[in-house]
Symmetry: C2
Subunit: 494 residues, 2 copies
């Protein structure tokens, strides 16, 4: 069965590259799968090795019976819209490879397209190094030896069009080059869109901190946005698939404006988007997972992410209320207690009675102590609750991506379940049915690796944020106790 596809972008073949020029709107028939890259990553002795494949069709619109397209769902939303919504154009006589043609061995360079093939990390079936005392967790992404990280700092106001347009530029310095690059919020947003397009079906890409129209230049807002961009970047850096992707590397290490602009253009033309990300993964040396196991894993992840989403939202609600109380009525109350003590002190001072200076001084000091406590209470949420809320907000964002990811997965499961019927009605060939099951197994390995990545980082993040929170809480209560101990010492009854 030959897949037909509509050309979405113009492509001009370079001489000697065995490429074919195509024009936007043309329809082509794909006759053969194209694999540009053989296996490029081999893990340790225990590693599974994967080949990275990219099909010419990745920048072609499917208009035939594309077996990847069946895994696409409405739930997968924005990043796969251009997968189905383009109008059909004219056919070309060109031949290509079927997306599902798993046996095709030809490696034509013709449709390599604008993007380099994705360097997806290998899945390992071994212990995760950064947690202790655990058993087998199943497939995991292969993590680089040195973890990428970056610092987002030094926000500066910039302008262009002779000052008509102002913006804030942040300095982003990766630990690899240690060379800062500048980025505006809209560049982060651009990166987000690229990552979402490219990895969104397999990897939850959390939203950036909100766009904001007013108050963009206020110091407090800039500080908060920077902090959130830092958290977002750190999370992306920590993900081995994302951090090693070309577009992410471009963002962190572009050499100059020209380099950035060329890289941008190239990334925007990358057609390995939506569910196609799974087509770039081909497990080797691991048995295919059976449907039941895939379904069970998927159900488990779905239940867990839903439950955690509820738990995180609950904590956020409670935290928000506590924040409100800590910054609103509670310090007001401590302040009023403080004022009441001080007021009583000044009344006592007016008694005309000799020898109550000790009491009035002590009462004033106690009153001031409660005013200090009021201030401490009001400031405390920024010191402890803040990081707890930020982390949970991040996780809320992450967890919000899972329904889509899991939705893609579930749709694929349903399609594989229907495969027998499709074979019976000649919609697909028996060989295609086998390939579909293989693809689903691949998707499941990928989802498991992603879940393991999620769990691993979740454990670290929650341990860390709880430590931070409790550390600050301890300091808070200790400081109050110390202040009150001092206030206490000033009263005297003989």
């Amino acid at each position: 069965m030959l897949a037909k596809a509509q050309v979405l972008y113009d492509f001009t073949a370079e001489p000697g590259n065995n490429e074919l020029s195509v024009k936007e709107g043309e329809t082509i028939t794909i006759t053969n799968q194209v694999n540009w890259y053989p296996t490029i990553i081999a893990g340790t002795a225990h590693c599974l090795s994967w080949s990275f494949s990219s099909d010419a069709c990745l920048f072609l619109q499917s208009n035939g019976n594309d077996p990847w397209a069946v895994f696409d769902t409405n739930a997968s939303g924005g990043f796969s819209n251009n997968w189905a919504a383009q109008p059909e154009g004219t056919e070309t006589g060109r031949t290509g490879s079927s997306v599902w043609g798993s046996s095709a061995q030809g490696h034509p360079q013709a449709y390599q397209g604008p993007g380099k093939p994705l360097r997806l990390c290998a899945l390992q079936s071994q212990r995760i190094e950064c947690t202790q005392d655990q058993g087998e967790v199943g497939p995991v992404w292969e993590y680089p030896e040195t973890q990428l990280d970056c610092v987002v700092a030094d926000p500066k106001k910039g302008s262009k069009m002779y000052g008509l347009k102002s913006y804030i530029e942040y300095q982003v310095t990766p630990n690899t080059t240690n060379k800062p690059v500048n980025h505006r919020y809209k560049h982060f947003d651009w990166l987000y869109e690229r990552l979402l397009d490219k990895f969104g079906s397999a990897i939850p890409i959390p939203c950036l901190p909100d766009k904001q129209v007013t108050g963009r230049f206020e110091e407090e807002f800039i500080k908060m946005r920077m902090e959130r961009l830092q958290a977002w970047m750190s999370r992306m850096c920590r993900h081995p698939v994302i951090s090693s992707s070309e577009v992410f590397q471009l963002f962190l290490t572009y050499k100059d404006e020209k380099d950035w602009k060329m890289g941008k253009r190239k990334a925007e033309k990358d057609e390995t988007v939506g569910v196609m990300i799974f087509s770039t993964i081909e497990p080797e040396g691991v048995p295919d997972l059976d449907l039941l196991e895939v379904e069970q894993k998927c159900e488990q992840f779905s239940r867990f992410t839903k439950a955690m989403d509820d738990g995180v939202k609950d904590l956020l609600t409670v935290g928000q209320e506590h924040w409100k109380r800590c910054t609103g009525p509670l310090p007001k109350e401590y302040q009023r207690i403080g004022k009441a003590f001080q007021n009583l002190s000044s009344v006592f001072n007016s008694s005309g009675y000799e020898g109550e200076a000790t009491l009035t001084d002590a009462l004033t000091a106690a009153g001031k102590t409660y005013e200090e406590i009021a201030q401490m209470v009001a400031e405390q949420p920024r010191k402890d609750l803040h990081s707890l809320m930020e982390t949970n907000n991040e996780y809320k964002g992450l967890l919000g991506c899972f329904p889509e990811t899991i939705g893609v997965h579930k749709a694929a499961i349903e399609k594989v379940k229907e495969a027998d019927k499709l074979v019976a009605t000649s919609k697909i060939t028996p060989a295609e049915k086998v390939t579909m099951a293989k693809r689903l197994s691949t998707m499941s390995y990928s989802l498991q690796a992603e879940m393991n990545h999620f769990h691993n980082h979740r454990i670290y993040d929650y341990n860390r944020v709880m430590q931070l929170y409790l550390e600050q809480q301890v300091k808070f209560y200790e400081t109050i106790a110390e202040k009150l101990r001092h206030a206490h010492s000033q009263f005297t009854t003989m």
Copy 2:
């Protein structure tokens, strides 16, 4: 000018006592002041000595131009009503002493009446022992060497009329006899009424804890009432004038039922009530205070007690709100935080991911810690705020008595101010005018002594209660810090 007075009670003269029998309703003319007791208390070298005088008129109704009556005001309320409202009876030919007859030296025993003369304490002009670092405070009551105190304890349900009537009886044990006597609430109430009648014009007698109709036999109520009766009794014990009074001693040390009943009857017939209390005080060896000084002192006391009343009420309001928050929304919030952590822990537990037992155990422990904190928060007001509130409630009650006391004083000042006019219109004699000024001076000395008593105890009480409050607050915050430190230690990031 001879004062006429109506006999309020029958009195049968005892033979050999130089007494005169009178019948209720008779009107007698008082020609001479009677002094039963000479100076009985002499202080240290610096002491002023006072004579305790009691006039026959004290149990006679004034129907003439009684100079004490002019100091009586509506503001002085209940305890002086019988001072003016009795109908006039028939005159007797008997002679007595004018209430204002300051020069009378006769000591007739005739109208000693049912009560023994009041043992009002001397006013001293020396340092008060229980405060330090002070200068002259002016007149003070003379304090006994051993301070009277008592313990109110062991509430027991009693009944009479074959079980038809139930009541709670408290055991009251004074530190003087160490012999317990039993009293019901209504006995305390009876004592309160006697003290109010007798001393209310000069000494603020705080109300008893509220009467209550329902729930009188509930354990919590009995405990609270006992605590408040204890506080009230302790305050009365601490007052040298009250604690040495016959009625108060009767209450604490009656020998048997018969003794109690006889003492009761006698006390109820005591006529040294209302403003007459001042007539039992006669300063000796101290200069009369001039009107300006009296007025200034009175104004100062008035301002101070009003200001303190406001301050105390403010603190009570703030305290009540804080109590509500500490027992209502705040612990609920800590509980919800605790639940949210525990909930997250059980979600994490369901991840199926190996090796997160450390995190889930730590999260559960942290959650339980916040539930413990919730309980601590809810129970804390009983441990600290309670005593602060009780003390301030006591002072609110005490301060509520001052407007009446000060009202009596202010009315007396006004009368003395009018004295010139009264002399000009022959309403009083010039000698009576001098006596009125003398009496006012006496009242002022008395008020000053009472204010000094008040200040002295106020300083002690507030020092003590603030120490208690802060001590418990320190413990509270220290315990929370300790609990959180332990919770913190269970998280781990390597």
